[in-house]
């Protein structure tokens, strides 16, 4: 866990920077159908995509963005520190390693179905080289109305002062949408990922925004499986986390020992159960919404306190 890592510095920079809000981003796997659709949408949203990487397609271009064979070529002359990885899961390990080797500091790992050992290997490698990974199996990161690296639709998000961290993609959109409708814009929304191993976990995500004055509250969208919510509750208590936090936990009605769509969403005995998460949140005085639509009301009452 590194507090020195400033996510906003990497994502949008400081006002004094020449490229403030225009930090260069590369996309690995840009020319696939998935990668190309979202490259176009990210560019429309304002993300400064400077190059794409598809081995064997170097020299081509897409939407005016040059395609390179290697990350090395893509980074040369663009100074990109952020990579959105859109390659299929079996190629993730090599792609992520190549990115880290060439100076990428923030990996946004979109693919689902990455083998766990590959995630562990990349995580260890990233730590060694001073990089962080978000995901895998994440919709990505959005700084509303500024930029996004990921696959989320633009519509649910507006600028504001809440941070949303979510283990699920569509629920991140759904919850942000209800927040937006109730007048709560978001400073940043960030998909933790639906896998058992997350490059950046909830506690690390909290650390990244803990000292940010322009963030006044946090909404955590969790689900059954693992003990990320339990550990987060411990962290909130032990570090006296001051910003108001509201949570949602999906999967209360899910059967045990069944993988509910996400590789990480599985309950063994009481481990990973919704009851365990809700009761731990209660100890940390974090209210838990019964459904996504209830999140804004809970936030309103927490902010009043």
């Amino acid at each position: 866990m590194s507090n020195k890592f400033d996510l906003f510095d990497i994502l949008i920079g400081k006002e004094s920077d020449d490229d403030f809000k225009k930090k260069p981003v590369i996309i690995q796997g840009m020319t696939g159908s998935f990668g190309s659709t979202h490259t176009r949408l990210m560019k429309e949203y304002g993300t400064n995509i400077v190059a794409g990487i598809t081995p064997g397609k170097g020299g081509q271009s897409f939407e005016g963005i040059p395609v390179c064979d290697t990350v090395k070529e893509a980074v040369e002359g663009t100074a990109a520190k952020i990579s959105g990885i859109f390659v299929p899961a079996p190629f993730f390990l090599d792609a992520a390693k190549e990115a880290i080797d060439n100076g990428i500091k923030l990996l946004v790992a979109i693919p689902e179905h990455v083998p766990l050992i590959d995630s562990l290997k990349i995580l260890e490698y990233a730590k060694k080289k001073g990089a962080i990974m978000v995901g895998p199996n994440t919709p990505g990161i959005i700084v509303p109305e500024v930029m996004k690296v990921g696959i989320m639709p633009a519509k649910p998000f507006v600028q504001g002062s809440t941070a949303v961290f979510s283990r699920s993609g569509t629920l991140m959109y759904e919850v942000s949408h209800t927040l937006t409708q109730s007048g709560y814009g978001q400073r940043i929304c960030f998909g933790i990922g639906g896998d058992p191993i997350n490059g950046t976990n909830l506690i690390e995500a909290f650390n990244l925004v803990r000292d940010k004055d322009d963030i006044n509250s946090i909404v955590v969208v969790g689900e059954i499986g693992g003990d990320a919510e339990e550990k987060l509750a411990e962290y909130i208590i032990s570090t006296n986390f001051e910003k108001p936090v509201v949570a949602y936990v999906a999967g209360r009605a899910a059967p045990k020992e069944k993988k509910m769509g996400h590789a990480g969403a599985i309950v063994y005995g009481n481990y990973g159960s919704a009851e365990s998460k809700v009761s731990n949140y209660a100890r940390a005085s974090v209210p838990v919404a019964k459904r996504p639509g209830e999140v804004p009301d809970l936030l309103t009452s927490r902010l009043k306190k």
Partner: protein
């Protein structure tokens, strides 16, 4: 993928991990043949994914052929936590000197592999106070680490050497086969000083199966599950009569919770993933149409870039060719939702503005 005991033991055996002499039987004739090879007394072990078999009476000792005849049938009919066995493992009775606990698992919290070991085996590990937890480096257990685990559970001399060898084999298996868990409870120290895995609970990483041809045989999917898998859907069959379809596992789980809160019973969970096309929604409806007992289909689709008229088209197609007859209650946000509403106006499908309204309609139907 959770493996059955005999499957886990097959893998153990291929790594030189000692297992008791055993045979699998799916009928009583096979069982009697197996007993001739194993000898008496022996144990019958129901092959189930769920834990707590011993407590539930799904592991029985037999001394005679007569006993096998009677107890085999009994076990085949015995449901544990809703699960019926397809086969029974017959196993020799080991000459146990002492029982231990050992597991190697993917530690989600610490994001590494960890070992739990205890000198108290054969009981539920959660209830054991005297246990040690150690983290293992990504490239496998070192002999120093294995040695310290052995010390901590009170082993010395030749027993310690045998244990270190055992745990190194297990470590190799975990990394090579990409398992999330290999739990041995009990791990038995026999009279002859060797260690033997009396039980095996192995969970494999589904996402790594593409590079393990040899493990694919353990994947037992129902017809519907394999159909769903071919289409890239996540699908879980449940007991109720409302089928829930949506884009995104979290959203479908959340819908399942709300259906349950509203007094409904979900009969299927289907996440069709990130890309909604007419064809993918149609295929999802096709899978759902084969689930028994379904009275209504609830669609919760939070789109952004999804064109809802394409979804409406899929629903119309499924009604048109009689793939589905039951009503569809849908909440679909996204582009072209007015057009979608008009397209469906004459059909048995109804669009709602909020998921709560769609759920209420489905539950009341």
């Amino acid at each position: 993928m959770i493996l059955l005991e005999y499957q886990g033991k097959e893998i153990f055996s291929s790594y030189g991990i000692k297992i008791p002499k055993s045979h699998l039987a799916s009928n009583v004739y096979e069982a009697i043949e197996a007993a001739k090879d194993i000898g008496f007394p022996l144990v019958l072990k129901s092959q189930l994914m769920v834990g707590g078999r011993g407590k539930a009476g799904a592991i029985l000792k037999c001394r005679t052929e007569e006993e096998i005849k009677q107890k085999f049938e009994e076990l085949m009919k015995k449901e544990v936590k809703g699960e019926l066995p397809k086969s029974i493992l017959l196993e020799e009775m080991a000459d146990i000197r002492k029982e231990f606990y050992l597991s190697f698992f993917l530690n989600r919290t610490k994001r590494c592999y960890s070992i739990i070991a205890s000198s108290q085996g054969g009981v539920e590990i959660e209830s054991v106070k005297d246990r040690i937890i150690m983290d293992v480096p990504i490239d496998g257990i070192t002999s120093d680490l294995a040695s310290s685990v052995a010390n901590d559970i009170g082993l010395a001399g030749n027993e310690k050497i045998a244990f270190i060898e055992f745990i190194q084999k297990l470590s190799k298996l975990i990394y090579e086969k990409e398992a999330e868990l290999a739990e041995i409870n009990p791990l038995a120290l026999l009279g002859d000083g060797t260690f033997v895995a009396l039980d095996a609970k192995v969970i494999l990483d589904d996402n790594a199966l593409f590079r393990h041809e040899d493990l694919k045989k353990y994947e037992e999917l129902s017809e519907l599950e394999s159909q769903a898998k071919e289409n890239g859907f996540s699908f879980v069959e449940l007991d109720g009569d409302i089928a829930i379809i949506g884009n995104g596992a979290g959203l479908v789980m959340s819908t399942l919770d709300m259906v349950t809160d509203a007094g409904g019973n979900a009969g299927a969970f289907l996440d069709f993933g990130g890309r909604a096309t007419t064809e993918s929604i149609y295929q999802a409806l096709k899978v759902i149409s084969k689930v028994k007992k379904i009275k209504t289909i609830l669609v919760n689709l939070f789109g952004g870039i999804v064109r809802t008229d394409l979804v409406a088209q899929a629903i119309l197609k499924a009604y048109h060719d009689n793939t589905i007859q039951v009503p569809v209650f849908a909440r679909i946000t996204g582009a072209e939702s007015e057009k979608a509403r008009e397209m469906l106006i004459e059909s048995k499908a109804k669009l709602f503005n909020t998921v709560e309204e769609a759920i209420n309609a489905a539950v009341k139907y």
